[in-house]
């Protein structure tokens, strides 16, 4: 805990010059210019980029994860166990390798089979699909991010579903419910809070994730980083830090500004996580493992 306090303190001190210079504009400003003499830093575009990619990743990843959790809780241990193991292997793959795979393999396929057809069919009518797809954009980054949060969300939701008393399932079956109805009547109402917690835990992951996103999001800067469609490049808080940290000179306001971005990122991630842990903890059976 001392380390956490020290960490917040250091980040606050480190970013103080930038915060003092721009005040509230630092959080709501949209300009980002590191050229000497014309410096101006605003985090808003990256905050928006982070929230949009994370939200999209959730929209794709969470239903997927809950589906997996349902399959695993519902199948015999002989199938469920190895399957759970395989899904958790997804968590072991380093994020930079997701980035590499996303960049060289997934991007090409995704543009050809998903983005271009969507753009051709709907681009003229719906602004969401209007920009010409290039592959380094919000949707690609979010989809890869969704795959990355699947292990976290699915293993927590599996645990939460397993905590539902066996009698509840049996009661549902006894009344004549089908399997799906059993999930709907017995498991979902009982585990709703925990599933929400699992999803938010995934959100926290997605917000903090750096490398894969940096490699896929197209790295726009300033106001243009607020995406105008699903196929336009953007930037997240963590990716701007990764991209510019080494080049930033500590003498100018560039470095303090980046550290300020880190502070905003930390605040976002921590508040999300605290909510998630409180929700999950409430659901967990006493003494039921990590």
């Amino acid at each position: 805990m001392a380390v956490i306090a020290l960490m917040v303190y250091e980040l606050a001190m480190g970013s103080a010059p930038a915060l003092a210079e721009y005040g509230l504009d630092f959080v709501v400003g949209t300009d980002w210019n590191a050229v000497e003499g014309r410096e101006s830093f605003g985090v808003l575009p990256y905050l928006v980029g982070t929230l949009i990619t994370a939200a999209l990743a959730m929209a794709i990843g969470v239903p997927l994860s809950i589906g997996i959790a349902m399959f695993i809780t519902d199948s015999p241990a002989r199938i469920g166990r190895p399957l759970g193991f395989v899904v958790e292997l997804l968590a072991a793959v380093p994020s930079v390798i997701y980035g590499l795979w996303g960049l060289y393999v997934f991007r090409g396929l995704f543009v050809e089979w998903v983005e271009r057809p969507l753009h051709d069919a709907l681009g003229a009518d719906i602004w969401l699909f209007s920009a010409a797809p290039f592959g380094l954009d919000v949707l690609t980054a979010s989809t890869v991010l969704a795959i990355m949060i699947v292990p976290t969300v699915s293993s927590v939701s599996r645990e939460v579903m397993a905590a539902v008393p066996q009698q509840q399932r049996e009661a549902a079956f006894m009344l004549g419910a089908t399997r799906w109805e059993m999930f709907r009547l017995a498991i979902f109402p009982h585990s709703r809070t925990g599933l929400a917690g699992a999803a938010i835990l995934g959100l926290g992951r997605a917000v903090g994730e750096t490398m894969a996103v940096t490699m896929l999001i197209g790295n726009a800067k300033g106001a243009s980083a607020i995406p105008s469609s699903l196929f336009s490049p953007s930037q997240t808080m963590s990716s701007i830090i990764a991209n510019e940290f080494v080049e930033a000179s500590p003498a100018s306001l560039h470095l303090p500004a980046l550290i300020g971005v880190g502070l905003v990122l930390l605040a976002t991630a921590v508040s999300i996580n605290i909510v998630a842990h409180l929700l999950v903890r409430r659901m967990r059976v006493p003494g039921g493992g990590a």
Binding site: W101, Y104, R179, S238
Partner: protein
């Protein structure tokens, strides 16, 4: 609420529309199965691509030489492999003792509000964005010492490692039966002796698992390394200077436009993923039999026999 009447209503409800309900059930089962397949395909694809592309890059030179001129397609990633090993080693040196001690505190002494708070913050700490750890290490190590160094990288990574080890240690020590502790106490052992010689010995399998899992997590971290070890194309030249690491090298290579850089990126990815998956599969395989690993059971039997 009148349970009996409700039950009767449900039962009546469940008798209607049977074919449609069965169809919905079947569709949902299909959807759920599709979810599983959708999640497994990327894993398969990642592994296949990394192995297929990486294998072309692997050679003795690739594994041992320093990188040649940018884009020349010569040299290798020797310094990165060496750097990863050095950094992970240093990280263990810093992170393992602290993590295990925190875990012991939580499992053996942790009662009441303070322990609850520590546990909660450890959980939250575990999910901190790793890049923030990097910035923090940049401040307290890089700026203080005045240069990028292996120490800074190891410091940042040990912050990521510490909560994982603390929690796994706590969980596995809690699994040790209380009667073991009581037996130790009955023999007149001090609390620390019971903790170290009986509980830790019995929980050894779990401790090792936690350490290995955190090692595999830490070895793949990239973000915090950017602002701490900086990267380098030379072999390890002391803990005080910049070093290279595999994940960092992969990222840098992916930014280059050359085919050879791409090939090298895949090669490095293969080396990295092999290291990590070997550790992971070993751990899971050891745990397959049930909650307790064979190692842990052996240790437990020994611990039980010792007093």
């Amino acid at each position: 609420m009148d349970t009996a009447r409700r039950r009767a209503r449900y039962r009546a409800l469940f008798r209607q529309n049977v074919p449609r309900r069965l169809a919905v059930d079947r569709v949902m089962r299909g959807v759920v199965l599709a979810c599983v397949i959708v999640a497994i395909v990327p894993l398969g694809s990642i592994l296949a691509e990394v192995i297929a592309n990486g294998a072309q890059a692997i050679s003795i030179e690739f594994l041992t030489a320093a990188p040649g001129a940018v884009g020349s397609g010569e040299g290798g990633v020797g310094p990165a492999i060496q750097g990863t090993l050095v950094i992970v080693g240093l990280t263990c040196l810093l992170g393992v003792p602290v993590g295990i001690m925190a875990g012991i505190y939580l499992a053996e002494y942790g009662r009441g509000r303070l322990a609850g708070a520590v546990r909660f913050f450890t959980d939250v700490f575990m999910e901190f964005p790793s890049i923030v750890m990097g910035i923090f290490a940049f401040f307290v190590v890089v700026l203080v010492l005045g240069h990028f160094s292996a120490w800074a990288g190891a410091f940042a990574l040990s912050l990521i490692m510490f909560p994982i080890i603390a929690r796994t240690t706590e969980e596995s020590m809690r699994l040790v039966q209380h009667t073991y502790r009581e037996a130790g106490m009955a023999l007149g052992l001090k609390k620390w002796a019971v903790t170290v010689r009986i509980v830790m010995a019995a929980a050894r399998g779990g401790l090792v698992t936690g350490i290995l899992l955190s090692v595999s997590r830490v070895a793949g971290e990239t973000a915090p390394l950017i602002m701490t070890i900086l990267g380098s194309s030379q072999f390890f030249g002391g803990f005080g200077g910049p070093v290279d690491a595999l994940p960092l090298r992969i990222w840098r290579l992916s930014l280059l436009p050359y085919d050879s850089a791409q090939l090298y990126g895949w090669g490095s990815a293969l080396v990295l993923i092999t290291m990590i998956l070997v550790v992971n599969v070993c751990v899971r395989y050891a745990l397959m039999g049930g909650r307790a690993s064979p190692l842990g059971m052996l240790a437990r039997r020994r611990a039980g026999a010792r007093p």
